[in-house]
């Protein structure tokens, strides 16, 4: 009897030890420390507010801690964070944004190195040596209005955009103004090859696409039906599609995009709350919230509710330096704005 109880106890310990635990539940000490700090993390980021608010709500209920979110574009996030940091009064604990501004901020030495236990959920190739896990990707592709263009008549590839029947029907962000689009155009060689990419860029410019300020206005023009096809984030096909907009996206196979990261300020006023938030944010529950709202996350087997999302082969764009951005914008001015 005593031996049976002992075996049962050992079996229970083995099961508890081997069973997958949510990472945040392992950080009770962290949560207690965070409560002593005030119980709140301040986050600056460029991720849309709606998924973040949902995540914060769940974070609050699961940990008893709170988070406040300041949302802006990635360059404004960087400007504010660096402005405060250089003045010696950083109010933020965490930054949530894409690779290029994160790298600049990392080079300026504002981040603390934190190895979150939640990082084990990510494939090694998704983990940046300085920035940690790439929790989501923003994927750029082609979306179209299915009331104006039947799926059978829709373009099937990037090169199809050059066909005469699509002339005057394409909208895209201005690559001489919008930095993500500058980056996308510059990196086209990754999916088309160098020679084809150079020719494609010139021919695309020659079709005189409608140019707008950024990726969202491009998607909006397709939603309203003003222009039937757009180069924009693929996730908008789901986000606006679920509101009733007749949208679909072109199955390009390989699509380029940028990764997003979350990092801790090395002068954070609430470092423990910050770490607890990172652990929760990178973990599966939070990432699934994002995926359900249309985001392409990097957790294996988790996809947004977009048809064939699992078939998209994501290609990470290379970052550009300040000089490269300036040079490319000048080059594209001559091609796109002549």
């Amino acid at each position: 009897m005593v031996i049976k109880i002992r075996y049962a106890l050992w079996a229970l310990i083995a099961v508890l030890g081997l069973a997958p635990q949510p990472a945040w539940s392992q950080s009770k000490n962290l949560i207690d420390a965070a409560k002593k700090e005030g119980g709140k993390a301040i986050v600056y980021g460029s991720l849309e507010s709606s998924p973040v608010e949902k995540i914060i709500k769940v974070f609050r209920s699961k940990t008893g801690l709170d988070a406040e979110y300041w949302r802006a574009s990635s360059t404004k996030v960087m400007d504010r964070a660096l402005g405060e940091y250089r003045a010696g009064r950083p109010l933020f604990d965490l930054i949530l944004t894409n690779a290029d501004p994160m790298i600049i901020m990392a080079k300026e030495g504002i981040f603390a190195k934190y190895n979150s236990p939640s990082a084990r959920n990510y494939a090694p190739e998704s983990i940046h040596p300085d920035l940690g896990p790439r929790y989501r990707n923003v994927v750029v592709g082609i979306i179209y209005n299915t009331r104006m263009i039947k799926p059978a008549d829709a373009p099937k590839s990037l090169e199809d955009l050059l066909k005469p029947q699509y002339r005057g029907k394409l909208v895209m962000p201005d690559p001489t103004q919008h930095t993500t689009t500058t980056q996308w155009v510059t990196n086209l060689w990754k999916v088309l090859g160098k020679e084809k990419a150079d020719r494609f860029i010139r021919d695309l410019a020659a079709t005189k696409p409608v140019l707008v300020e950024s990726l969202l206005p491009a998607a909006k023009r397709v939603t309203t039906g003003e222009t039937p096809i757009a180069i924009t984030y693929v996730k908008y096909a789901y986000i606006f599609g679920k509101e009733g907009a007749p949208l679909d996206y072109v199955r390009l196979g390989k699509m380029m995009g940028d990764g997003h990261y979350v990092n801790l300020n090395n002068k954070a006023s609430h470092p423990s709350a910050g770490k607890a938030f990172i652990d929760f944010f990178l973990d599966s529950e939070s990432v699934k919230i994002m995926a359900d709202m249309g985001e392409f996350v990097n957790l294996k087997g988790v996809y947004p509710p977009l048809p064939d999302a699992d078939k998209i082969q994501f290609v990470q764009m290379d970052g550009l330096s300040k000089k490269e951005y300036a040079a490319k914008k000048k080059e594209y001015q001559k091609i796109f704005l002549k």
Binding site: S50, D79, T179, L211, T227
Partner: protein
């Protein structure tokens, strides 16, 4: 005493004489406040324009930013484009405002009170929303007006294309009209009609009175509105971003965006160098304005005698006048609002069909109703709007008095100081404000107070222009009578001048309240999470693609502002 000893003694006497006069003390206090508000944040930007490193990092003195900004030959055609755009938009806004103000204040056209209220409404809507509304109405593909005209008249394609320079001027002109209307109508309300009545007595027709008496006396107000709106158009980015870009029209601000503010990383040094150029243009216009209105007595029409504003009996033409005003208000108010209402009740925006009525929804309003963030933002914005506008108008009234009414040396500098922050692009100024206050000894950064400081800093020119046009009309005899009766400066200012300046003060207050309720660019870097005002909230709805909630929120803000404006107008109306 030798001559050398007499000199410092004489200087000391002059200084102590200067300081004993209360007016001079007021001048010093106002100058100090304006200099601090204006120069402290912009000093960082001006410094940044002469260095090669971002703010906060050590850099080297250089003219490279100016060389880059102004040696580029492509900049000058764009500056010319911007001038054409600015002149067109401000000219259109002044013309529309003059017609509306004259109909509502000086005629017996029916429904003029309603016109007076609704003419201000477009100022409540963020310029971004107005631009988007007009694109939805007049884009050549499926703009609502074009679609209706094609169907009604059997046209091959829509007759209007918003994506053009005339389209850009048209939309910006409509956006600027409320401001011009408020300034011009305040001046019209404050005008003693005795000169006009004298002209009529001597046999002049109504048209003659209007062209030879009324409008010349309105010159300061017309110039003030035109100056303000020209500089506003010059530094406008929202409308060009939405309308000019697809039309492949470039103006100066789209270049600034490309080269500096939209570059990666943002080049605030270059943006500041561009801002100095716009500042120079703004200061030239301020100087010209002061030259044209320097003979103050020639515009004085408010005297010690009581009066009723002269009202013209249009006879059978009164209904036509109302119809004309209604057409203008349809363009300025009804059409953009109709689009806003439509967007707020559709699940997603599309050209309406018969099936659309079945998809109407109130869920965007429900989203706002259930959001704690929205309630907090309303509270913050109401506090900022009411408090900020009041502080701003008090400062503007004192500044206006000092610059228009006194002969104190250096008074012209006050006006220049007020315009300095305004000349910088909004985002650049926002960074200057961040830098100025992030490490300020008094902990105002990331509180609601820093946003109020930012609003007053950026929008004081509006209040100043509104009240200056009224104070010019007040004859000195009223102040002289008060002083002769023994009243000091403060008593005269409070009991004589402020009540007479009331139309201009209220006009300015209304302009500022409506702007503060939805302002975004000055506050973007300054508000802390949880202390967010409505402006950033509206903008982030737009950034996140939440067009429905954005339109619903825009409507609610407009309704609240209409109530505030109606109350303010009632309070400011002349009593006989």
């Amino acid at each position: 005493m030798t001559a050398d000893q007499a000199l410092p003694a004489a200087a000391r006497d002059r200084v102590s004489g200067f300081l004993t006069h209360p007016l001079n003390l007021v001048f010093i206090a106002v100058a100090a406040v304006l200099a601090f508000l204006s120069l402290y944040p912009t000093a960082f930007l001006i410094y940044g324009s002469f260095t090669d490193a971002p703010l906060g990092l050590p850099g080297h003195f250089t003219f490279a930013n100016y060389v880059r900004a102004y040696s580029d030959p492509s900049a000058y055609p764009l500056i010319l484009n911007s001038f054409v755009f600015g002149l067109g938009a401000s000219g259109l806004s002044v013309a529309l405002a003059l017609i509306l103000a004259w109909v509502t204040i000086r005629t017996n056209a029916p429904f003029r009170r309603l016109f007076e209220l609704t003419a201000i409404i477009p100022n409540i809507m963020p310029p971004l929303l107005i631009s988007i509304s007009w694109v939805m109405l007049l884009n050549p593909s499926n703009g609502l007006i074009n679609v209706v005209l094609v169907r009604l008249l059997g046209l091959g394609k829509g007759p209007f294309n918003i994506y053009s320079l005339p389209g850009l001027i048209f939309v910006e002109g409509l956006i600027l009209t409320p401001l011009a209307f408020l300034i011009i109508s305040a001046a019209l309300k404050g005008m003693d009609p005795s000169l006009e009545e004298s002209a009529k007595t001597l046999g002049s027709s109504e048209l003659g009175v209007v062209s030879r008496i009324t409008f010349p006396l309105m010159r300061p107000a017309i110039l003030a509105a035109g100056t303000l709106n020209f500089v506003r158009a010059l530094e406008s980015f929202d409308t060009p971003a939405i309308i000019a870009l697809p039309a492949r029209i470039e103006v100066f601000t789209t270049k600034i965006w490309r080269e500096a503010l939209g570059s990666f990383p943002t080049n605030h040094n270059l943006a500041a160098a561009y801002g100095i150029g716009i500042l120079a243009i703004a200061l030239i216009f301020v100087y010209l304005y002061r030259r044209f209105t320097s003979k103050v007595e020639s515009f004085s029409t408010v005297t010690g005698k009581a009066f009723q504003p002269h009202q013209i009996d249009l006879g059978k033409w009164r209904h036509w006048a109302s119809a004309g005003a209604f057409v203008l208000l349809t363009m300025m108010v009804i059409l953009p609002f109709a689009v806003l209402i439509l967007v707020s009740v559709l699940p997603y925006y599309h050209v309406p069909t018969w099936e659309t009525w079945q998809t109407l929804t109130l869920r965007h309003f429900k989203t706002l109703y259930e959001s704690e963030r929205v309630y907090r933002a309303f509270g913050n914005s109401l506090f900022l709007a009411l408090g900020g506008a009041t502080v701003c108008m008090l400062l503007a009234s004192l500044t206006s008095y000092l610059t228009v009414r006194t002969k104190i040396a250096g008074r012209g500098l006050l006006e220049g100081l007020v315009f300095i922050p305004w000349a910088f692009p909004g985002t650049a100024l926002a960074l200057g404000l961040l830098w100025a206050y992030v490490d300020f000894p008094i902990p105002v950064y990331a509180t609601i107070w820093i946003i109020m400081i930012a609003y007053v800093t950026r929008f004081l020119p509006y209040g100043l222009r509104a009240v200056s046009t009224t104070i010019i009309q007040i004859h000195r005899e009223l102040e002289e009578a008060s002083t002769a009766c023994g009243a000091g400066f403060f008593a005269t200012f409070r009991r004589i001048l402020l009540p007479l300046m009331r139309p201009g003060v209220m006009a300015g207050w209304i302009i500022l309240v409506t702007i503060f309720m939805r302002e975004f660019s000055a506050s973007i870097f300054l508000y802390s999470p949880g202390a967010e005002p409505l402006g950033p909230l509206l903008y982030f709805f737009y950034l996140d693609g939440w067009t429905g909630p954005m339109a619903a929120l825009g409507l609610i803000i407009s309704l609240i502002c209409i109530v505030l404006i109606a109350l303010a107008q009632r309070f400011s109306r002349w009593e006989s």
